[in-house]
């Protein structure tokens, strides 16, 4: 039996005024996978995700998503690359995580929504910090809160855009271990965008390298090859 991909991209071309960022790119993602998307700065990784989220319009090609559940469309949780949370941000971690619930317009949360919030906080080990101000949380705690906010909507696919970039080694590994748990325990499909080849090799099985608008892929174990290192570091 063949498994259907949850994300199927064919011949995707995205062009900005000054250049072609994605050039007839193909990409399939299967349910339950945890892959890394690597590539030099400016290679177009974020642009690829933004195209999937309908935030940039492709000039050519198709992006299909296939639902995992019959009752609803494929839900994508995206943790953006840059966040503007300063030191004086007033909301608690729980309030911040709870922002991402748009199923209703009514201010008060349903029982199910309360449960989802609790679950998202527990998964990210934030239950004890729930009432702490996000503004005064550490870098690692902030990233976990961003992750929890994406999880609270109960996504089928989680996309982390350089979430580990600003963290120290220990916080990086904590975050990745946590994402790996989600991948194992909740069958969450994960796309991990990164520059960090060590992390990619340790926590993902397969890598996709974005270069000159196209993707090539391989086993993450091969990421120790110096050639790939050169390519990722090249333009940094």
């Amino acid at each position: 039996m063949t498994v259907e991909p949850i994300l199927d991209i064919k011949q995707l071309t995205v062009r900005f005024p000054d250049k072609v960022v994605l050039d007839r790119l193909d990409f399939q993602l299967y349910p339950g996978e945890m892959i890394s998307l690597i590539g030099a700065n400016g290679a177009g990784k974020t642009t690829l995700i933004r195209a999937v989220l309908h935030q940039v319009k492709p000039v050519h090609g198709t992006i299909e998503t296939h639902p995992l559940h019959e009752t609803r469309q494929l839900k994508i949780g995206y943790v953006p690359q840059f966040r503007n949370i300063d030191h004086d941000f007033p909301l608690s971690i729980a309030s911040f995580v709870g922002l991402n619930r748009l199923g209703h317009h009514w201010p008060f949360y349903t029982k199910q929504e309360h449960q989802n919030l609790k679950h998202a906080l527990a998964c990210t080990y934030l239950t004890d910090l729930a009432q702490t101000r996000l503004g005064s949380a550490s870098g690692g705690e902030k990233q976990r809160a961003y992750l929890a906010q994406a999880l609270v909507d109960d996504p089928d696919l989680l996309i982390l855009d350089e979430s580990t970039a600003s963290l120290d080694v220990q916080a990086k590994n904590e975050l990745m271990a946590l994402v790996q748990e989600l991948n194992h325990n909740e069958q969450l499909t994960v796309v991990f965008i990164t520059h960090d080849l060590e992390l990619a090799a340790r926590y993902t099985t397969k890598y996709y390298l974005l270069e000159d608008g196209k993707l090539s892929s391989g086993a993450s174990a091969d990421l120790n090859q110096s050639l790939i290192r050169e390519k990722v570091r090249g333009a940094i």
Partner: protein, 265 residues
């Protein structure tokens, strides 16, 4: 004090003003729009003067001017409007227009003072009714777009990664802000209405941790300001606006002090 009809009207009106400005203020501060509420106040002055000059009421003139300006800001994009040179140019133009309209209309100078600095004696029950209806309208819109508005205001980056109509929310909010400015100016005057729109919410940021808490605290601080201000104005015969401004500033300073102390301990 409540035996006097104008005091009853003033208390009723200012209660709804405090509610509206408290709620809208929380989003003004979260969306970083303090500069705009300031500019809209000045535009509101011109609108009120125009309203008087043209025979519409001051409130209606304000509503028209501020709403139109909000639409223009929405079309230009808030970021562009933030540029300081543009803002001072627009403000100067509108204050100039306001002065022109006032001098063209046959009203005397005390009318200008009322518009600029507010007045509690002038409010009729019909005007109070209009204020209440406008406040209710603002609240209704806030309630209808609650979750999207809260998400977009407190985490614009996160909201951008969801399918939210952010431009629509931004424009509707700007118009609600225009309404709040016009409503608030009826008691405190257009010169100081931005105080009610920014200080209580800014103080609340130091004290609350959830959106409902921020709202409750901001509304509470606005209410204390207008209620106490009206009372002190009544007793001393000094301008109400002076008391409201002083009370709000004092609470703001206390809130900062409190958060410093809490952080240290």
């Amino acid at each position: 004090m409540f035996a006097l009809v104008f005091m009853r009207n003033a208390y009723l009106a200012s209660t709804f003003i405090a509610l509206t400005c408290g709620v809208i203020g929380v989003f003004v501060v979260a969306r970083n729009l303090s500069f705009l509420s300031h500019t809209l106040s000045e535009i509101g002055f011109a609108g009120a003067a125009f309203g008087v000059f043209s025979g519409l009421s001051a409130l209606n003139g304000m509503l028209i001017f501020t709403s139109l300006s909000s639409l223009i800001v929405g079309a230009l994009g808030v970021e562009k409007s933030r540029r300081e040179a543009t803002i001072s140019a627009v403000s100067s133009l509108f204050i100039g227009l306001g002065i022109l309209f006032l001098s063209l209309s046959s009203k005397n100078a005390s009318y200008a003072t009322n518009i600029l600095f507010g007045s509690i004696v002038g409010i009729s029950f019909d005007e109070v009714k209009q204020l209440i209806i406008l406040s209710a309208l603002v609240m209704l819109f806030v309630l209808m777009m609650w979750r999207s508005l809260v998400f977009d205001s407190f985490d614009s980056v996160g909201a951008a990664s969801q399918n939210i109509h952010r431009d629509l929310i931004s424009i509707i909010f700007l118009i609600l802000l225009a309404f709040a400015v016009s409503i608030g100016a009826q008691i405190v005057g257009s010169l100081l209405v931005f105080i009610l729109l920014t200080l209580p919410a800014a103080s609340a940021q130091y004290l609350g941790r959830t959106v409902p808490q921020l709202l409750m605290i901001a509304i509470g601080i606005s209410l204390i300001g207008v209620w106490l201000g009206l009372y002190l104005g009544y007793v001393t015969n000094w301008p109400v606006t002076f008391f409201i401004a002083s009370i709000e500033v004092l609470i703001y300073l206390l809130a900062i002090l409190y958060s410093r102390l809490v952080q240290r301990s």
